[in-house]
């Protein structure tokens, strides 16, 4: 009887130790962790060559997606500049990362203009765009709302858009939301934890 109690106590200690070890080994993230992670919606928009981007073909890479617009003077270039710093911090590991800037303002964000906007900050960044219908379909799949702000002229209006970055893991699952302004070192650390 006594040996059975001892055996149970020992088992309990071992099980507790395993749980503690598993929790301790789980990476901590600076971005908001989505639990459980779900499959990322498609991103069937055109790149600068006119080819349709295939998010499913990026398995094995970590993919960062930011929804902005090419006439965005502040948040979008700031986010892309932070990506460039994060990419530099990743060094050689950045080869397993895709950086995607989606132009949500279909009237002005042609695929080529969107790609130029992103690639001007870093040639490794990819810009995607599409027809109003294609962009709307993508935004609906991602459950994202964007709208043209009141005021401004037809040529100089601004657009409200998501400020966070969507992070897709190597299995194609939406794992993190990185808030606007997350320091590049923390962006890089989150990516490294997913590689």
């Amino acid at each position: 009887m006594r040996s059975r109690v001892r055996w149970r106590a020992a088992s309990l200690v071992c099980a507790s130790a395993c749980v503690v070890a598993l929790v301790a080994c789980r990476p901590t993230f600076h971005g908001v962790v989505l639990e459980p992670p779900g499959p990322a919606p498609p991103l069937a928009l055109a790149d600068s060559t006119g080819a349709t981007f295939d998010l499913a073909a990026q398995r094995g890479k970590v993919v960062l997606v930011f929804f902005g617009y090419t006439h965005c003077p502040d948040v979008c270039p700031t986010t892309l500049a932070d990506w460039r710093k994060a990419k530099a911090l990743l060094g050689a590991d950045a080869r397993d990362v895709r950086w995607i800037f989606v132009g949500v303002d279909a009237e002005r964000d042609t695929p080529l203009a969107t790609h130029r906007y992103a690639a001007r900050i870093d040639p490794a960044f990819t810009g995607l765009g599409g027809t109003p219908a294609a962009v709307q379909a993508t935004l609906a799949q991602w459950k994202i709302g964007v709208f043209r702000d009141a005021g401004g002229s037809d040529a100089a209006y601004t657009v409200s858009h998501p400020s966070a970055v969507y992070v897709i893991d190597r299995e194609g699952r939406h794992r993190l939301l990185q808030r606007s302004g997350l320091p590049p070192a923390e962006v890089a650390e989150d990516i490294r934890n997913l590689l």
Binding site: H71, P73, D74, V75, P77, D149, A155, A156, S163, S180
Partner: protein, 141 residues
């Protein structure tokens, strides 16, 4: 642009600042502007202190290298970034207006020239005291 012409443009801005009587109690700090292509929108950032005894209001802004400029503020509400125009920026005595990424900024509409890192651009800020604060901004990527 070679270094000598860059220095010359910065010096010119400094001379203009003196010539136009820029208020010394509102000399801007850390001015910079993000690079951009011709026709693009971009933004300029700097800090304006108010060392005077009264509230200082920034009421208008012009940028030589662009068709138009205006004060704006980026607001992040429930994960959505929204651009809000600001007619004026009020600075209390002893306080500063910090124009910085993801916050208050000078929105620069329609660049007349391509701006690359290392260029300098003059920004003119009109204050409620009817003086013009000249800001020589250095272009960054």
């Amino acid at each position: 642009m070679d270094q000598s012409s860059r220095v010359a443009r910065v010096s010119l801005a400094a001379i203009l600042a003196v010539a136009c009587g820029t208020a010394q109690d509102a000399a801007p700090a850390g001015p910079w502007m993000r690079a951009g292509e011709v026709g693009a929108m971009t933004a300029a950032y700097f800090t304006v202190p108010n060392a005077g005894p009264d509230t200082l209001r920034l009421v208008a802004v012009e940028v030589d290298a662009a068709e138009r400029a205006s004060f704006h503020e980026t607001r992040d509400s429930a994960g959505t970034a929204r651009m809000v125009p600001r007619d004026t920026i009020a600075i209390a005595p002893g306080d500063s207006a910090v124009l910085a990424p993801r916050g208050l900024h000078v929105m620069v509409h329609g660049l007349r020239v391509k701006l690359v890192a290392g260029d300098t651009v003059v920004v003119r800020v009109l204050s409620s005291r009817r003086d013009t604060i000249l800001v020589s901004t250095l272009v960054h990527e």
